[in-house]
């Protein structure tokens, strides 16, 4: 028995800010003090509060240390672990109260959260199967294989109301049912997992893979049993090396323990799985493209029907689910459909994980019951907008989604409500924007992404989106006309209706939603030739005010020598030369330069 546990976050955010060094320093410092039999160090997955990383939690006290550095480690060991004196200066401010330390669950960040998919992230060591087993891991698989028929499994998932977390929200039980029944005499079926996580500003699936890989393995085996498949494939982005490594370790361990392989739990059921790496193509997140890619080809989408439940991977009936979808499955089996469906709204059950980013204090991962409002997520959990700036929009659904303005902040989040306000759930990216973000520029940002990622197979998407981007670019350069707005809208609907796959069908959404809610910003670019947020470079200009002291600093630092003026006289900017880099504003100590 250890008297203390030190949990150190090994998630991507904290690893990037040096948590691996902190971990090794902690281990050697503990040895130095002769505490190795009393204190156990555990490397965990993401805690969610990545903004405060690197993060460390010491139990039994539950002290939450944030922004820890290697230099802090000796002090933590000699003061806290040796003498029992908490290092107050490193504590997360929110947890410090007048009468001592508040538990993490009572902080604003965690209070409104409810962790189902992320329940083990930041709690167990993902590289040790025994820690997963100790928290009821593989009990659901055991229950399914020894007590339930495949139809009963599907029934529970159907009744729970679980819908796909990868984007479209298709009922998971329904998908499994189709794959089980559509081709009764299939000689082979496959279970696939979509861990391609293509939304360019999101990392939920990555955190599950890194923090709780066994949950995915267990769920895929359950899905295999339900549909009658013996082989699984996880398609992971190659950009996620830590996730791939932990998943590999987890698969190996599961095989060693007989939880993958032949005759699992002596039930006669065989199931094994493999990992395939993506290679940087967003379209491969689309289900048919993903399967084509696993088959070893250019990842181009195929027309549907036939749907994968009938003809999927290698032409066999297949199920594809998202990582987070799977992460819910073992809990549903253990706790029952009613438990799951008691959370959420009428048509969207359970919880949803969001990657909260952008202009928000607590960037990180949050999991909330469906039906939580955007305002609760942004203001209560996220801690609001930093630097006293004003909220402008929340973006969900990534390149397929839309921007939600302040007037809809009290909308309870679920699949249907988000669609109704012109966005979508998507996989869970939630990016907050403030008054300094230009909505025309954001629409252009997403469209550049989709144009770049279009596979080019069908014309509406390949040509249409390019045209749309040209129109947008024209507007950001102050060369647009009001007729362009109508043209754009028309083009958007044409692309949506005529594209072959989801990429093209949803690509115009960021444009449509910003046109709907922020038309005034488009008009300002077109009529006033002005970018209200001061982002579109072609439309901003820098000017020196009469308060200029003539100190020459700006002129000396302008990269293109656009500023002239004599010492102690007012300086001027040659607009024709200026490249709008903004360096002069930062250089002026007298606030004499403004951006217009």
């Amino acid at each position: 028995m250890y008297r203390s546990h030190v949990l150190i976050c090994g998630g991507t955010g904290c690893s990037s800010s040096g948590s691996a060094k902190i971990l090794s320093e902690m281990e050697s410092e503990i040895k130095k003090q002769g505490l190795e039999n009393e204190v156990k160090v555990v490397k965990t997955g993401c805690f969610g509060l990545c903004a405060l990383g690197p993060i460390m939690i010491v139990y039994p006290e539950g002290c939450f240390y944030s922004r820890v550095t290697v230099e802090d480690v000796p002090e933590i060991v000699s003061e806290h672990l040796l003498k029992g004196r908490v290092v107050t200066r490193l504590l997360y401010q929110e947890t410090v109260t007048d009468d001592g330390i508040k538990s993490l669950n009572e902080t604003n960040f965690y209070k409104k959260q409810h962790r189902v998919a992320l329940r083990n992230c930041g709690v167990i060591n993902p590289e040790n199967i025994e820690e997963y087993i100790a928290v009821d891991g593989y009990a659901a698989l055991g229950k399914v294989l020894t007590e339930m028929t495949p139809d009963e499994v599907i029934d529970v998932i159907l009744k729970s109301g679980l819908r796909g977390r990868g984007g479209a929200g298709f009922p998971t039980g329904k998908k499994w049912q189709l794959a089980r029944n559509l081709v009764p005499d299939a000689d082979q079926k496959y279970v696939c997992c979509n861990a391609d996580e293509g939304d360019p500003g999101a990392f939920m699936d990555r955190s599950v893979l890194e923090g709780d890989p066994h949950a995915l393995i267990e769920a895929m085996a359950i899905a295999g049993y339900a549909i009658g498949a013996t082989q699984g494939f996880v398609y992971v982005r190659a950009e996620y090396p830590i996730a791939v490594k932990r998943l590999r370790i987890a698969i190996e361990q599961a095989r060693e323990y007989g939880l993958l392989g032949k005759n699992i739990f002596g039930s006669g059921f065989d199931f094994d799985m493999d990992i395939r790496l993506g290679a940087g193509a967003f379209v491969c997140g689309e289900e048919t493209a993903l399967m084509t890619s696993i088959e070893g080809h250019r990842g181009e989408p195929r027309p549907r029907p036939p749907f994968p439940a009938e003809k999927g991977l290698f032409g066999k009936p297949s199920v594809l689910n998202n990582v987070e979808t799977y992460a819910n499955v073992p809990q549903i089996i253990l706790k029952g459909a009613d438990w799951f469906s008691s959370m959420g709204t009428e048509k969207s059950k359970g919880t949803k994980v969001f990657a909260l980013g952008g202009k928000i204090v607590n960037t990180g991962l949050v999991e909330v019951p469906m039906g939580t409002t955007l305002r609760e997520i942004i203001e209560d959990i996220g801690g609001g907008i930093p630097n006293g700036k004003k909220f402008k929009a929340a973006q969900t659904g990534g390149p397929s989604g839309g921007c939600i303005p302040a007037q809809h902040l009290d909308t309870p989040i679920d699949y249907d409500n988000l669609l109704a306000i012109g966005s979508m759930m998507g996989s869970g990216g939630l990016i907050v924007m403030d008054e300094d973000n230009c909505m025309v520029d954001i629409a252009k940002f997403f469209l550049e992404f989709t144009v770049d990622e279009s596979c080019g197979k069908c014309t509406p998407c390949r040509i249409g989106n390019k045209r749309l981007l040209e129109l947008l670019t024209k507007i950001t350069e102050g060369k647009g006309t009001l007729e362009d707005l109508d043209k754009m809208e028309e083009l958007c609907y044409y692309i949506k209706e005529n594209s072959l796959c989801g990429l093209g069908q949803t690509a115009p959404n960021p444009v449509l939603s910003t046109l709907r809610y922020f038309r005034d910003e488009y008009v300002a670019h077109i009529v006033d030739k002005r970018c209200p947020a001061g982002v579109c470079k072609k439309l901003v200009s820098f000017e020196i005010l009469d308060t200029c002291k003539g100190c020459t600093k700006c002129a000396r630092n302008c990269p293109v020598n656009a500023i002239t003026g004599k010492v102690k006289e007012k300086h001027v900017i040659d607009q024709a030369k200026c490249i709008k880099c903004g360096a002069c504003i930062d250089n002026c100590n007298f606030n004499a330069i403004i951006k217009k």
């Binding site: 998630g11 991507t12 955010g13 990037s16 800010s17 509060l49 990545c50 903004a51 405060l52 990383g53 939304d199 360019p200 500003g201 999101a202 990392f203 990555r206 955190s207 190659a238 950009e239 996620y240 395939r276 790496l277 993506g278 290679a279 940087g280 193509a281 890619s293 696993i294 088959e295 070893g296 080809h297 250019r298 990842g299 181009e300 290698f314 990657a355 980013g357 952008g358 202009k359 960037t363 990180g364 973006q395 990534g398 990216g429 990016i431 907050v432 924007m433 973000n437 954001i442 940002f445 997403f446 770049d452 990622e453 279009s454 596979c455 080019g456 990269p559 903004g582 930062d586």
Partner: protein
Amino acid sequence: MGKSTISKIPFKGTAEQEQKLREFIAANKGMQGALMPVMQEAQEIYGYLPIEVQRIIAEEMNISLEEVYGVATFYAQFNLNPKGQYKIGVCLGTACYVKGSQDVFDKACSVLGIGNGDVTEDGKFSIEATRCIGCCGLAPVLTVNDDVYGRLTADDVPGIIEKYQKM
């Protein structure tokens, strides 16, 4: 998507590299959908996938060079040209973008004097715009090989690059 440039840099593969690749293919070609894993391993071995390497793959896998080339050009991660000794990546994912990573990227390009996807003449640096690398909490982020720099402004960029210039 759609890259089609063929490397002008002379191919300098060694016999050991070639043997390693051929052995990997022999051991794995029976696997379903083996082409992608084989190409990923080849890129691991050589650092990029010049036409010479694609030819070995086609030959060993008994498929046409067109097919290998088609796959190599479809996926952004297969490099037809060698990368720099220090690979700089600037995240242009949404979370980083709204926090000004475009300025960081532009600055890095102007300091190095190269554009997206290019390599400096001395082969020391290459630069690429990347997508979310999962550290949005540190946005905006820049990576140099495996090192991650977060919470940056454009002004931090010259200092970071200088550090590697001296290595």
